[in-house]
C-alpha cells in the first residue's frame, strides 16, 4: 500500500503563561491509501493537537516545533498559508465533536456547505444550491431540499453531525480526520453516523484518521490503532492484537478499563489494584416503589408527555440501571425521584411512605431529604467553582445535619477517606482537581448524610475510561460498605451490565423492558433493547482473561 500521509518526529508545543508546554513530543506514523487509522488516548494525550497540527489550525500559541508531515509530496509544515487553505477542505477535511457547536448557529446549513463549495471553486453561484443539496443527499439526509434552509438549532445532534460530514466531504477530500465525531451522541445515532462515515470513506476510497477516547469504537472501525499518552505513541498495531495482547502497560490499562461483555467491575482495574470484591447485601424488602408515575409538561405546541406512567421497584441494597437515549424521560424520572420536581400524578413509596405528598418545593425541609441524594452527571459543572472541596462536602452537613466545628471537620475527613480523596486536596478549588478527584468530591457530598438511596445520573459520562474504572469500583465498594441502594442512570449498556442487578430500559417516556441485568443483556425481549445492544461498540474479546 502506498503512503498518503507520513508523519515523522512531529513535536507541537504551546506558549502559555506558565511557560512552554509540550503537547506532542516526537511522534511518527503513516496513513496508507484507503486505510482507517485510529488514534486512541485519554484527555491530554495530544491526539487532537496532532490533527490540528496536520491541518495547521492550532489555537493561538501553538507551534510545530520539530518534525515532518508530508501529504502526497506536500510538506504540510512549511507549505504557504495560501496553499494550506487549498489543501484544507479539498485534500484533507475534518469533522469534529459536538456537531451542533461546530456549525455556525445563525447561518443556514445549506449556505455553510455552499461557502465551502464556492471557496474551492467546486460550484458557481448558479449551481451552488443544487450541489449543496447533492452533498446533503450524499450523507443520507432525508428531504435534503427542506433541510437546506434549516438552521443548526432546528436539527438533532445526529443530523448536525451529518451536515458537518457534508461540509467536510463536499469537495471530495482524500483524507478525512474525524476528531471524536460521536462523543455526546446517543448510542444508536453513534452507530448510524459511524457506519455512514465508514461507508463514505470506503465508497470514495479515501483514507481516514479516527481520533477517539473509546478503544472499543476504534477497534470496531479502524484497520490499525495508535495508542497515545502524554504526547508520545506508546503502542501501535492491529486492533485485535492490541486487545488480546497489549505490549505497553498503558495500553494494557486502557484495554482493561474498557467495559465489555464477560468482564467484572473489578477486572476494569489493573491487576495489582483490584483488591477483594465486597458482596453487597440485597434484601427482598423494597426501599422504593414507583407506581404509575406520569409527568406532562405544558409545551408550546400542546402538552409534552415526558414520562407516561411507569412503575418499578428497587429493593434494599439493590442497584437498578435505568437505560435509554436522550429524550426517553430518564432524567425527568430521576429528578422526580430525588424530589427536585413534582410528578403530574403517581406515587413514590419510599420506606413505606408516599413521598409525593410533600411537594418538591418544601422537600428540602423534610426529614427524609437526607435519605435520598444524587450524584450529578458533570462533576465539573455540578461543583461551585468558588467553593473548595471541603466547603462543598460540608454544605449538606451544615444545612441539614446542623454540624459545626470539630465534629464537622472530623466527618469531612472521614468522608474523604471513604471516597479515596487525599486529605491535602480538601482545600483545593474544583479547577485545581482532576476529573476523577472532582467525581470523588461529588460522591462524598452525596453520601455525607448517610443516605439510604442514591441516584447516580451518568456519574462517569465525562470521565476518561481509566478514571471511570476507578470511580465505578468506588461506587461498588461504597454500596457494599454503606448498604446503599442505587438507581444508576446511564446510556452505556456495558457499564450498566457490570454494575447493576436489575435493568430498566426506557423509550419515549415508557418502560419497554425490565428484568435481571444478565437476562436483559443476553436475551433481550423488546426490539428497542435489541437495537441498543446491537449499536453498542463491540470490542474484540480478550483471548486470555487474566
Amino acid at each position: 500500500m502506498s503512503k498518503m500521509l507520513s508523519v515523522k518526529d512531529l513535536a507541537v508545543s504551546f506558549q502559555t503563561r506558565r511557560g512552554e508546554v509540550d503537547a506532542v513530543r516526537g511522534i511518527s506514523f503513516e496513513v496508507a491509501k484507503g486505510e482507517i487509522l485510529g488514534i486512541v488516548g485519554e484527555s491530554g494525550s495530544g491526539k487532537s493537537v496532532t490533527s490540528y497540527a496536520l491541518m495547521r489550525i492550532l489555537d493561538a500559541g501553538g507551534v510545530i516545533k520539530a518534525g515532518e508531515a508530508t501529504y502526497s509530496g506536500i510538506d504540510l509544515r512549511r507549505a504557504a498559508e495560501r496553499d494550506m487553505r487549498d489543501i484544507r477542505g479539498r485534500e484533507i477535511s475534518m469533522i469534529f465533536q459536538n456537531p451542533r457547536a461546530a456549525l455556525n448557529p445563525i447561518r443556514k446549513v445549506g449556505h455553510q456547505i455552499e461557502d465551502v463549495l464556492r471557496h474551492h471553486a467546486r460550484a458557481t453561484r448558479y449551481d451552488a444550491r443544487a450541489k449543496a443539496i447533492a452533498a446533503l443527499e450524499a450523507v443520507k439526509i432525508n428531504d435534503a431540499e427542506a433541510r437546506y434552509n434549516a438552521y443548526p438549532f432546528e436539527l438533532s445532534g445526529g443530523m448536525c453531525q451529518r451536515i458537518v460530514c457534508a461540509i467536510a466531504l463536499a469537495c471530495d477530500p482524500r483524507l478525512l480526520i474525524a476528531d471524536e465525531p460521536t462523543t455526546g451522541l446517543d448510542i444508536t445515532t453513534q452507530k448510524a453516523v459511524m457506519d455512514l462515515v465508514r461507508d463514505l470513506i470506503r465508497e470514495r476510497s479515501m483514507s481516514s484518521i479516527l481520533i477517539t477516547h473509546d478503544l472499543g469504537l476504534a477497534a470496531q472501525y479502524c484497520d490499525r490503532i495508535i495508542v497515545m499518552k502524554d504526547g508520545v505513541i506508546v503502542e501501535q498495531g492491529d486492533p485485535v492484537q492490541i486487545f488480546s495482547d497489549p505490549q505497553h502497560p498503558y495500553s494494557r490499562k486502557l484495554v482493561d478499563a474498557t467495559p465489555r461483555a464477560g468482564e467484572t467491575v473489578r477486572s476494569l482495574l489493573p491487576p495489582d489494584e483490584r483488591g477483594e470484591e465486597l458482596t453487597p447485601a440485597v434484601s427482598d424488602q423494597p426501599i422504593l416503589e414507583v407506581r404509575d408515575l406520569i409527568k406532562t409538561y405544558a409545551g408550546k405546541s400542546g402538552p409534552v408527555h415526558a414520562v407516561k406512567g411507569i412503575s418499578f421497584t428497587i429493593n434494599q441494597g439493590q442497584c437498578v440501571g435505568l437505560v435509554g437515549e436522550s429524550g426517553c424521560g430518564k432524567s425527568t424520572t430521576s429528578e422526580i425521584l430525588v424530589r427536585l420536581m413534582d410528578a403530574t400524578s403517581g406515587q413514590i413509596i419510599f420506606d413505606g411512605d408516599d413521598i409525593t405528598r410533600v411537594p418538591a418545593r418544601s422537600f428540602a425541609k423534610d426529614s427524609r431529604r437526607a435519605d435520598i441524594q444524587m450524584v450529578f452527571q458533570d462533576a465539573t459543572d455540578s461543583l461551585n467553582p468558588r467553593h473548595t472541596a471541603r466547603q462543598t462536602i460540608s454544605e449538606p452537613l451544615r444545612r441539614l445535619a446542623r454540624m459545626r466545628g470539630a465534629k464537622l471537620a472530623k466527618r469531612i475527613e472521614e468522608l474523604a477517606v471513604l471516597v479515596g480523596l487525599p486529605l491535602p486536596l480538601l482545600d483545593r478549588f474544583p479547577h485545581q482537581l482532576s476529573g476523577g478527584q472532582k467525581a470523588r468530591v461529588g460522591i462524598a457530598r452525596a453520601i455525607a448524610l448517610d443516605p439510604k438511596f442514591l441516584i447516580l445520573d451518568e456519574p462517569t459520562a465525562a470521565l476518561d475510561v481509566s478514571i471511570q474504572a476507578v470511580v465505578l469500583n468506588l461506587l461498588v465498594d461504597l454500596r457494599a460498605k454503606l448498604g446503599l441502594s442505587y438507581l444508576f442512570v446511564s446510556h452505556d449498556l456495558h457499564v450498566v451490565r457490570l454494575l447493576c442487578d436489575h435493568v430498566i430500559v426506557m423509550k419515549d417516556g415508557e418502560i419497554v423492558e425490565q428484568g435481571a441485568a444478565e437476562q436483559v443483556m443476553s436475551n433481550p425481549q423488546s426490539d428497542y433493547t435489541k437495537a441498543l445492544l446491537a449499536a453498542a461498540p463491540k470490542p474484540p474479546q480478550r483471548r486470555n482473561i487474566s
Partner: protein, 344 residues
C-alpha cells in the same frame, strides 16, 4: 417562506407588547409630575400674588379638580395631540418638543454613528490581534472614555479647539448667528440644509456639531469597543470557527461571515443601552455647548415646576425608549434566526 409566518407572528407580538408599556408610561409620568415638590399655582401667580389670586390661578390651571379628573382631562388632551401649555415659555409643549427633540436626536445620533465607526473596527482589530499595539490602543481608549466625565471632555475640547487653536466655532448652539436656520422639514439641521441644497449652512451646522458630538462619542465609544472586542474574542474561539478554518475558508470569510455576524448580537444589545445612556448624558453636553436640546429644556422646566413641560419631556423620552427597544428587538430577530422560536 417556511420561516416567515411564525417569525411575523413573533414580530407582531413584540409590537403589541409595547402598548401596555406606553399606557403605563402615561400613568406614571402623570403621577410623577404631580408628586413633584412645589406648588405650580404659587409660582405662576407671581411674587406679588395674594391668596385669592393664587386660588384663581389654581382654578385656571385646573389644579383644583380631583386627581382622577385631572388625569382624564390629560389623557383626553393627549389623544388630540395636546400636551398642554408650557408655563415658562408660553408656547405649547408639543411645539417646544418638536423644536428641541430633533436637536438632541441629531446630536445623539451623530455621536453614536461616530462612536460606532471608530469603536467597532477598533474592537474587531483588537480581538484579531490580541496583545499588539491595536489591542493596547483599544484598552487605553476604553479606559479614557469611561473615566473622563462628559462635561470635562467637553470643556477640554472647547479649550483646545476653540480657545487655543481657534479652529472650532464658538460653542453656542446649533448654528452661528450669521447663518439662517434651514427650513423645518425634519428638524435635523444637517438633513434640512442638505435638502435645501444650502451647503454653506450645512457646513456651518456641521462645524457646530463636531465638538459636542465628539464629546458624547468619546463617552459612548468605550462600552461599544469593549463589547465588540469581547464578543469577537468569544466568537473567534467557537467551535464553528475551527470548522470553517478546517474547511479552508479564507480568513476574511471566517472573520466577517462567521465570527462578526455572531459577535453582532451582543454588540447590538450594547448599542441599545448606550443610546439610552447617551440621551441621558446629553443634559451636561447640551449645557456646556449651549445646545438647545431637550435635556436643557427639561432641567429648566423642572426648576420652575413647569409640570406640563416636564410631563411632556418624560413622555417623549419614554416613548423614545420604547421605540428604541422595539427596534433593537426587531434587529435581533433579523440577525438571529433562533429568536421567535424558543427551543422546541
Amino acid at each position: 417562506m417556511l420561516a416567515s409566518s411564525p417569525r411575523l407572528r413573533a414580530t407582531l407580538l413584540r409590537v403589541a407588547q409595547s402598548i401596555p408599556v406606553v399606557i403605563g408610561v402615561v400613568i406614571i409620568s402623570f403621577l410623577l409630575t404631580r408628586a413633584l415638590p412645589g406648588d405650580p399655582a404659587v409660582y405662576f401667580a407671581g411674587v406679588a400674588a395674594d391668596t385669592a389670586s393664587i386660588e384663581e390661578t389654581r382654578v385656571a390651571m385646573g389644579l383644583d379638580k380631583p386627581l382622577v379628573q385631572q388625569f382624564f382631562i390629560y389623557v383626553g388632551n393627549l389623544l388630540q395631540g395636546d400636551l398642554g401649555q408650557s408655563l415658562s415659555s408660553g408656547r405649547s409643549v408639543a411645539a417646544d418638543l418638536a423644536k428641541r427633540l430633533p436637536a438632541s436626536l441629531e446630536l445623539t445620533l451623530s455621536a453614536l454613528i461616530l462612536a460606532i465607526v471608530i469603536a467597532v473596527p477598533l474592537g474587531v482589530l483588537a480581538a484579531t490581534r490580541p496583545g499588539t499595539w491595536v489591542d493596547h490602543l483599544c484598552r487605553v481608549v476604553v479606559t479614557a472614555g469611561v473615566s473622563l466625565p462628559t462635561f470635562f471632555t467637553g470643556i477640554l475640547l472647547i479649550y483646545i479647539f476653540y480657545y487655543l487653536l481657534g479652529i472650532a466655532p464658538s460653542p453656542l448652539g446649533r448654528l452661528d448667528f450669521i447663518y439662517l436656520d434651514p427650513d423645518h422639514v425634519t428638524g435635523f439641521y444637517l438633513i434640512d440644509a442638505a435638502l435645501m441644497g444650502d451647503w454653506e449652512t450645512w457646513r456651518g451646522a456641521a462645524k457646530q456639531l463636531i465638538l459636542p458630538a465628539s464629546t458624547l462619542a468619546l463617552f459612548t465609544l468605550a462600552p461599544i469597543a469593549r463589547m465588540t472586542r469581547a464578543a469577537m474574542l468569544t466568537a473567534l474561539s467557537s467551535d464553528f470557527i475551527r470548522t470553517a478554518r478546517a474547511a479552508g475558508l479564507t480568513n476574511r470569510t471566517v472573520l466577517y461571515r462567521y465570527a462578526f455576524r455572531n459577535a453582532l448580537l451582543p454588540v447590538v444589545t450594547t448599542l441599545g443601552m448606550v443610546f439610552s445612556f447617551a440621551l441621558g448624558a446629553n443634559v451636561l453636553v447640551e449645557k456646556v455647548f449651549a445646545w438647545p436640546g431637550i435635556g436643557s429644556y427639561a432641567v429648566e422646566a423642572l426648576v420652575v415646576s413647569d409640570y406640563a413641560a416636564v410631563q411632556g419631556f418624560v413622555l417623549a423620552m419614554a416613548l423614545l425608549f420604547v421605540a428604541l427597544n422595539l427596534v433593537i428587538d426587531l434587529l435581533y430577530t433579523a440577525i438571529d434566526p433562533r429568536i421567535g422560536f424558543s427551543s422546541k
